[in-house]
Assembly symmetry: C2
Homo-oligomer: 248 residues x 2
DNA sequence: GCGTGTGAACTTCTTCACAGCC
DNA sequence: GGCTGTGAAGAAGTTCACACGC
């Protein structure tokens, strides 16, 4: 195994994966579980790539970082590959997750079944609002954020989800880090400052729409420009791609 | 080599932006609005970069794609830059968005204020479940998904959000595309197949957690394995994880 | 024959460092 | 002096194409 990328934690169980690969492994895992349910024992790179929405060369290169995973001329053993990916992602046990902020969005996240089925257990809910504390959501009691250190310790929580308003998020992040949390998924639309060694991932719903907006803007220019003048306000574009044209 | 990215829609109002830049512009926009509220008239690349959580060289390179936006020795005019970014992102008018699936998550999204304040208007809610149709959420009535074509046309909707269970998502996507929608934000944990010309972005909450899980896994190996027992601060977690200070 | 695994080519993205303008 | 704008270097990621093992 004279591999080039030799990081400090390199080894058979800890390949030093490129970030882009790490981001795709969960997608492969989901596709594999789906294939397993459908009774597939093996799958080709072509087949798995299609199920995961990537091209097969990329998939093979990604999997090659995990060591020998497939069989030439045959493909990948579905069950075995699931095990290997779960191994490197650290999903061999269910990780306890804390959720802070049980407003609109937090409420929905607390009830989201997908966490439970894919390796996580919402272990505690927190809010700063005393009127919310004590409320029962999905079998859990909302606790006050002052209880963070105690609960994080009790439940061995290392991952937290922030679903508070933006103005509260940094403060919450500080308290989480102080309590020992080392990974944060942030739904608040703001930048979080955390010390080295703490990972933050961000999900911003409005940003996703704004990116789509850019491409919409672009597409409408494509259809509007060649035909000379554009009509503001009314978009005559995009009724159907490949469908019959609509009178403008 | 004068690197002229000259695309079909290239021009002063439609610079051909790198995808990575497009993905960051919304973040700059949010930071700028924040700065404007705080009364700042101008901001340096250093200042804006800090507010947006990127480094200043990257920010300058990104903004340079928009044409001349700053003033040397001074910085960027906050209001002007907001206008320019909103221009290229196509946020000069509020875009109507359809939301399909008013279950757990859909409900929360329908009530999410962030859409309204950042360029979008939830114009319609849909569900396939007749028992949900007619329900009022946040001032909107839930309509049956069969009404899609009619409403999409009436409200000039080109962007839709899918918040249905995974098994229904592809079918919903097909109907959206048929109705004329050309951009989709998908919250269902599955891959969507859509024709060319339709953009899909995906948000998968469990995947985000699984990526964090990988890094947690990695970190725990770091503290467990190495003989180099130097603990800076608390847990010894305080270096080289996201950092590229990897030693040889 | 088939399909994985992989060097090599290529593209995209990031960072550096400094010229040019205010 | 200060800060933007940008070529050039470098790093990361993707795609190609084919050798190799089944």
């Amino acid at each position: 195994m004279s591999q080039q990328r030799t990081g400090p934690t390199d080894g058979p169980d800890f390949p030093d994966l490129p970030e882009a690969t790490v981001a795709r492994l969960p997608e492969y895992l989901r596709a594999l579980h789906h294939l397993a349910e459908d009774g597939h024992d093996t799958v080709s790179s072509e087949g798995l790539a299609a199920a995961a929405g990537v091209n097969s060369a990329k998939l093979r290169k990604d999997l090659s970082h995990l060591g020998r995973t497939g069989t030439r001329g045959v493909g990948y053993d579905v069950t075995l590959l699931i095990d290997q990916i779960e191994q490197v992602l650290g999903l061999t046990h269910r990780r306890a997750v804390a959720l802070v902020g049980v407003g609109n969005l937090g409420h929905a996240l607390a009830g989201y079944a997908g966490f439970g089925t894919r390796g996580f257990r919402i272990a505690a809910l927190f809010d700063a609002d005393h009127s919310r504390v004590g409320e029962h959501i999905n079998g859990l009691v909302v606790r006050h954020i002052d209880d963070l250190p105690e609960v994080v310790d009790q439940e061995s929580i290392s991952i937290a989800v922030i679903a508070t308003p933006a103005h509260a998020a940094q403060h919450v992040a500080d308290r989480l880090v102080e309590a020992g949390v080392t990974s944060v998924l942030n739904f608040a639309p703001c930048v979080l400052n955390v010390p080295d060694g703490v990972d933050v991932r961000k999900v911003d719903l409005a940003i996703e729409l704004q990116i789509l907006s850019f491409h919409e803007h672009r597409k409408s220019a494509l259809t509007a420009l060649p035909a000379a003048v554009q009509k503001p306000g009314r978009v005559g574009m995009a009724n159907r791609l490949g469908g019959e044209a609509v009178a403008t």
